[in-house]
Symmetry: C2
Subunit: 315 residues, 2 copies
C-alpha cells in the first residue's frame, strides 16, 4: 500500500548522500510517496543545520500529516536541543496517525517524548544506513517496516544465542510491561535529567555501537546503581557492534559483562534481540505495553493492536 513518508534530519549532517538517495529511491520503489524536508541535507558544523533548523525540521515532520516520519540518519544533535523540542506537537501528530521511526541519537528524542507525553514512537530504521544500504535494504527490516505500514505487526520473536540461554532461569511470562530503551549511550546520557522516563516494571532494551565492553559495563553499572535496571521486569540486549578488543582485555568482553550483570540484578537479562547498528533490525514500539515470553531459547515479544497509537497516554 502506498504511504506518505516524510524524511527529515534531526541529528548529524547527511554525509553519505549516495546512501541517502538510494534510501529515498528504495522507498519510492516500494510504492511510497516520499516527501523530503527542505533542510534534510542542511549542514552546520557536524550537524544537519543549526539547532533552530533541526527543531524546525522536527516541527515540519510533525505537521506533515505523513504516515511515517523517518530520520535520514542518527549521529549526534538531539541531546543539545531537548529543552526546545515541540513535544506536544509531536504527540498530537502521533495521535493523528504519524509514526515516528528512528534509532541511535534518535533514542534521546524517543525517550524525552515518552517522559514528557507518553507518546509511542518506533525504534527502527534510518533512511541512509538502512533503506539506502549499499548491499540493499535488509529483507527482515523491510518486512517489519511493511507490517508497521499495514497496521498488522503485532510483535516479534528471536532465538537467543545458546551461550546466553544456558544459565537463564525459566522466564515467567511478562504482561503489561512498558517497552522502552534504545541506544545505551544516549539513554544513559539522559539519566538525572528531566528527559529520562521514570518507568517501573518495564521491558528495557539496549544496543550500542563502537563502545568498548568496559564502557558498556560502566553505563550498565550506572543504570544499575541508579536503580533503573533492578525495577524492570526484563532487560533485553540487542546488538553491540563495532567493538575493538584489545590484547590487554585478557578475556574481558561483552560476554563477561553480560554474565556479571546477570549475577547482579534480579530481572532476567535476555540477549540476541535483532536490533541495533546492524542491517537486520526489527521495529519496536517505544512506550507501548508488551508481553514477553520465552520457550527455551525462543523469545516472543507481543504488543497490542494499533501500534501504540492507543497507548499514547497509558502511563
Amino acid at each position: 500500500m502506498k504511504k506518505h513518508i516524510y524524511i527529515y534530519s534531526p541529528s548529524s549532517a547527511v554525509r553519505d548522500k549516495a546512501a541517502f538517495k538510494r534510501g529515498v529511491k528504495r522507498l519510492q520503489t516500494l510504492g511510497h510517496e516520499v516527501e523530503i524536508d527542505e533542510a534534510a541535507l542542511a549542514t552546520h558544523q557536524r550537524f544537519a543545520g543549526d539547532d533552530a533548523t533541526r527543531l524546525a525540521a522536527i516541527s515540519r515532520a510533525a505537521a506533515s500529516g505523513a504516515d511515517i516520519a523517518l530520520i535520514s540518519r542518527g549521529g549526534y544533535g538531539l541531546t543539545r536541543i531537548l529543552d526546545a523540542i515541540p513535544y506536544k506537537a509531536v504527540a498530537k501528530a502521533i495521535h493523528r496517525g504519524t509514526q515516528f521511526v528512528g534509532l541511535s541519537d534518535f533514542t534521546a528524542f524517543q525517550l524525552a517524548l515518552l517522559a514528557k507525553t507518553g507518546a509511542v514512537t518506533w525504534a527502527g530504521p534510518a533512511v541512509g544506513e538502512d533503506f539506502g544500504a549499499e548491499a540493499g535494504a535488509d529483507d527482515i527490516m523491510e518486512a517489519c517496516f511493511d507490517d508497521l505500514l499495514a497496521g498488522q505487526g503485532e510483535g516479534t520473536g528471536w532465538r537467543m544465542p545458546a551461550r546466553d540461554s544456558a544459565d537463564l532461569p525459566p522466564l515467567r511470562s511478562i504482561h503489561d510491561a512498558v517497552l522502552w530503551g534504545g541506544n545505551l549511550c544516549v539513554l544513559t546520557s539522559l539519566l538525572g535529567t528531566p528527559w529520562f522516563p521514570e518507568i517501573d516494571k518495564g521491558v528495557l532494551f539496549l544496543e550500542d555501537v563502537n563502545e568498548h565492553p568496559y564502557r558498556v559495563e560502566r553505563m550498565l553499572d550506572q543504570l544499575r546503581h541508579a536503580g533503573v535496571l533492578g525495577r524492570q521486569k526484563a532487560i533485553v540486549l540487542g546488538q553491540f557492534t563495532g567493538i575493538r578488543k584489545a590484547p590487554h582485555d585478557r578475556g574481558f568482553g561483552m560476554q563477561t559483562v553480560v554474565n556479571r550483570l546477570r549475577g547482579l540484578i534480579k530481572p532476567p537479562v535476555l540477549t540476541g534481540l535483532p536490533f541495533g547498528h546492524v542491517p537486520t533490525k526489527v521495529l519496536l514500539p517505544v512506550g507501548a505495553k508488551v508481553e514477553l515470553a520465552a520457550d527455551d531459547r525462543d523469545v516472543f515479544m507481543v504488543w497490542g493492536h494499533g501500534h501504540g497509537r492507543d497507548h499514547g497516554h497509558d502511563h
Copy 2:
C-alpha cells in the same frame, strides 16, 4: 623530607612495568620510603586483580599508616566496586594523616568518598604515567607534590588562554566553595547514583582524555540538564587531550563546546587549569573549601592550611 608512600592498584592492571619501576625509583630518589602493595602488579582480565583483590588493596592502603597513598595508574575498575569500598576506613586513614592522591578512574573513588564521608582527597599524579614518565617526572607536578608532603601548599594559579578570557565577565571573588570534580567521563558516570556528591555553590573542575568534543558536550549537557552546573559558583576546565578531530566536524571542536556552554549557564567557565592527562599537573584538594579569584587572565585558587585534613567534615 622523607615520607612514607604506599603504592597500590585500584583500577586497571599495570601494563607498562618499566614506567612503574621508573616511578618507584624516582620516588625513592626523592628520598622517600616507598611501600608497594602486594597486589600492585596483579592481573585479572584488564584489571589489577579481581574486584576482591583491588578492594583488599584499598583496605591495605588505608591501614598502611603512610603519609601518601598513590595509585599505580588509572584506567577502569573503580565504578565496578563502588558499593564495596571501605569508605569509613579510608576516611579514618585520611583523618589520621594519610593523603590519597590520584586521577582519571580514581575520580570515582574520590567523589564516592566525598559523597559518603566528606573526606578530602587529592587530584594529582599516578606513579607510572607521572613519576615514571619516560621524559622524566614533570618539575611543576613534583613541586606541587612536594608542597603537599611538606604541608606548605596552599593554592595554585594559572593563566587562562587569551581566547577564553576575552569575553569572560570579571570574576567576582569566590569564597568558601567546595572544590570537586576530576575526570568528566567518570564523574558523569556517577550521576543518578548514591555516589554522586550533592554539592551546591562549589567549584567544579573537569578534564578528560580521548573523548571527542561532541561527547564532552553531551556529558556537559547531561550535567547541565541535571542542574549540576548551574548550581556551582564556577566551572573550571582543565586539559582535554587526545582529541581526534574529523573532517566532518567542520569547525565543531572544544572551543565551540566551551563558548556554547558559557552562553547556557550562569556560573563563569574558566579554562586552562593545569590538570588532566598531561605531564604538568597541579594537585587539587577534592572536597576542600577554596577561594577563587581572577586578575584578567590570571586565576588564583587558594585552599586552607592542613590540606583538607581539617575540612573533612565541613559539609
